[in-house]
């Protein structure tokens, strides 16, 4: 036997749990769940599955939005959450190596005392290796990039059980001009090329000062115009998010806030205390220039957490705000200059279809999510959404 019976689950609840994520896709349960503790065990399991043509679906934290965990062809779910070691942290070199079960929160807790952070923030409590597999992005991609820019090396178990290191064993070089870029082949491979059992990622310093600001706007277009101008002015925003009125209402009820129900921009500025103030002032000027109002900003940790908690809980706020309705999450990226146009289009389209469509977007990247809500039981509606 490769793994103990304790590490194998065939109960209905275990299987359902591992066939479900945060997406609207229905549960596709595997036939069994296997939970290894070491790379050797993962490799041995893969070898056996390969020989017997058993499909394998990797499972990290189940927090994805794209149905990545569904066992579409049956087989097993290979759950990696027991591999929880933080292998090494090199503070002066700004890199850390973690095993498959380590979540980004766990890593950040570990390194914060050294003044370091792993800033990629897709919202959920995802595992770092899961974030590699899905090329996770998030609210501060506009400043720190996505996983593509932040993974230095990975240990991957291939379909036949071979173990490889995408940048070479032990490598944590910040940059290289040699060899094929295997690391970036596997980042975003969605579990189709191998199981990521370990990753070495870039770390950053925790900024000296952080400020959060919000401003509401009379129209979607004026908010998005402001975004374009902020980028053109070179304000090095850490985060810049857009929420439409439907989303603001949902957040207000869910998180007990009283934000003005209007198209709203959320900003985060980082840097030195004077730098942050300068950025906020310039941003305020730009907002006002585009008829924005209620520009409020905060520096105290709790106030910033509160504002951003609203944004982080968007998904749950939407579900809570429209009970009984199913939310279909979309993920679109356009050139920033076309943003005003597409957000308006989306808004109008949803209006025409008669469905609520709260929108939240990482507008600094030209990326936004429109959550289309429908009654899952109304086949006509579901069809129209698709």
């Amino acid at each position: 036997a490769v793994v103990s019976t304790q590490s194998t689950g065939i109960s209905e609840s275990a299987r359902n749990l591992h066939g479900t994520d945060e997406s609207f896709h229905p549960t596709r349960a595997p036939e069994a769940v296997v939970t290894p503790h070491t790379t050797e065990q993962v490799s041995a399991v893969m070898r056996i599955c390969n020989e017997n043509k058993v499909p394998v679906v990797p499972f990290g934290t189940g927090t994805g939005f794209e149905g990545g965990v569904g066992a579409m062809y049956g087989g097993i779910s290979l759950a990696l959450h027991k591999m929880t070691d933080i292998v090494e942290v090199n503070s002066s070199d700004f890199d850390a190596t973690v095993r498959a079960g380590v979540t980004r929160h766990q890593l950040n807790d570990w390194i914060k005392e050294d003044g370091l952070q792993f800033p990629i923030d897709p919202g959920a409590g995802a595992s770092v290796c899961g974030m590699c597999a899905t090329s996770a992005s998030g609210t501060n991609a506009v400043r720190y990039g996505t996983m593509r820019e932040n993974v230095l090396n990975m240990e991957v178990v291939l379909a036949d059980g071979r173990v490889i290191h995408t940048a070479g064993k032990g490598s944590r070089a910040k940059k290289t001009s040699c060899g094929y870029n295997l690391t970036n082949l596997f980042v975003g491979s969605e579990g189709t090329l191998g199981l990521i059992t370990q990753a070495t990622v870039r770390l950053y310093g925790i900024p000296e000062a952080t400020a959060a600001a919000i401003s509401s706007f009379p129209t979607v277009a004026s908010a998005v115009e402001t975004v374009v101008q902020v980028l053109q002015c070179g304000i090095p925003v850490a985060r810049m998010e857009f929420l439409n009125p439907d989303m603001i209402s949902a957040c207000n009820s869910y998180s007990n806030l009283d934000l003005k129900v209007a198209p709203t921009l959320f900003f985060e500025f980082i840097g030195s205390p004077s730098g942050v103030e300068e950025q906020a002032q310039l941003a305020e000027e730009l907002c006002t220039y585009n008829e924005g109002d209620n520009f409020t900003w905060a520096t105290a940790q709790e106030d910033r957490t509160r504002l951003w908690k609203a944004r982080h809980n968007c998904w749950y706020a939407v579900k809570a705000g429209y009970p009984g309705l199913h939310a279909y999450s979309t993920d679109v990226v356009v050139p920033v200059s076309r943003l005003p146009e597409i957000v308006e289009y989306c808004h109008d389209l949803a209006g025409e279809m008669g469905v609520p469509a709260p929108i939240v977007g990482h507008v600094g990247d030209g990326n936004f999510h429109c959550f289309l809500l429908s009654d899952q039981n109304d086949a006509v509606e579901v069809d129209r959404i698709k």
């Binding site: 807790d109 570990w110 005392e113 003044g115 310093g205 925790i206 900024p207 940790q301 709790e302």
Partner: protein
């Protein structure tokens, strides 16, 4: 604007996220090679002092830690968060487990004599021994008023208005200065030590002394007899229907 001096305690404990293992001799937990950090409630205490300094209510923050050599790292974190200087009361490595609340309170009482602070802020309890005693013992020794489990602290005219978290809800009290406070989790959200501040903190002074230098006898009064893991959770019973469930609950005296 008042210009108070604050003494804040910070203890080096096993990091809250670590999986604790009981030592083979069953007299304690494994600490060797295990990640340690500042006690979370002490982070709240330091943060509160720093905020009071930002509001210009406080002019000087002294961070104090009692423990082995590595406690200096904890003081450096406090300095990076905004404390002005530190005092390390050093005890030989391996004896820090025997530093009990009464001894620590006596050490702080001597430091109060020496540094003459207006306020002492401690974390409400340490997450390793969960005693929640040092603040109260210190207040008793000094005969100073105390505001424990503080979730709000406001200063005006030589008094502190404190909201305490108590079993029944919240209690508002007013204490005259000088006073001792213990910080609770909801008092504030502590800032992170940032790299620029960690670097600046290296230049701040840490004074080192031993309990003997202060004339304090730290011989423990309590002896640990045994440390054991909590009992392993037993498997539950599955019942076919609600009626059987109710019967079983009644059988076991739960309802």
């Amino acid at each position: 604007m008042a210009s108070l001096r604050v003494l804040v305690g910070c203890k080096r404990v096993i990091d809250y996220a670590v999986k604790i293992r009981v030592r083979p001799d069953a007299l304690g937990v494994v600490t060797d090679g295990v990640k340690h950090s500042m006690n979370p409630f002490d982070e709240n205490a330091i943060e509160e002092a720093v905020r009071m300094k930002q509001k210009k209510v406080v002019k000087e923050i002294i961070a104090v830690s009692c423990g082995p050599t590595q406690s200096q790292e904890t003081i450096r974190t406090a300095l990076a968060m905004g404390a002005d200087r530190g005092i390390h009361i050093e005890v030989p490595k391996g004896t820090e487990e025997n530093l009990q609340p009464l001894a620590v309170a006596k050490i702080f009482a001597k430091l109060v004599e020496k540094e003459k602070p207006d306020v002492v802020i401690l974390g409400k309890q340490a997450i390793d021994d969960d005693s929640n005693q040092t603040t109260q013992l210190l207040a008793g020794i000094l005969e100073w008023p105390q505001g424990t489990m503080a979730s709000v602290v406001e200063h005006s005219d030589g008094k502190l208005k404190i909201t305490r978290e108590v079993d029944g809800g919240l209690e508002d009290i007013s204490v005259n200065l000088p006073a001792v406070i213990s910080a609770d989790l909801r008092l504030n959200e502590p800032r992170y030590a940032t790299l620029p501040n960690i670097m600046k903190a290296k230049k701040k002074k840490i004074e080192k002394m031993s309990p003997e230098d202060l004339g304090v006898d730290v011989t423990p009064r309590l002896k640990v007899l045994k440390v054991v893991d909590p009992p392993v959770r037993a498997a539950g019973d599955k019942v076919p229907d609600v009626a059987t469930l109710m019967d079983k609950l009644k059988e076991r005296g739960h309802i």
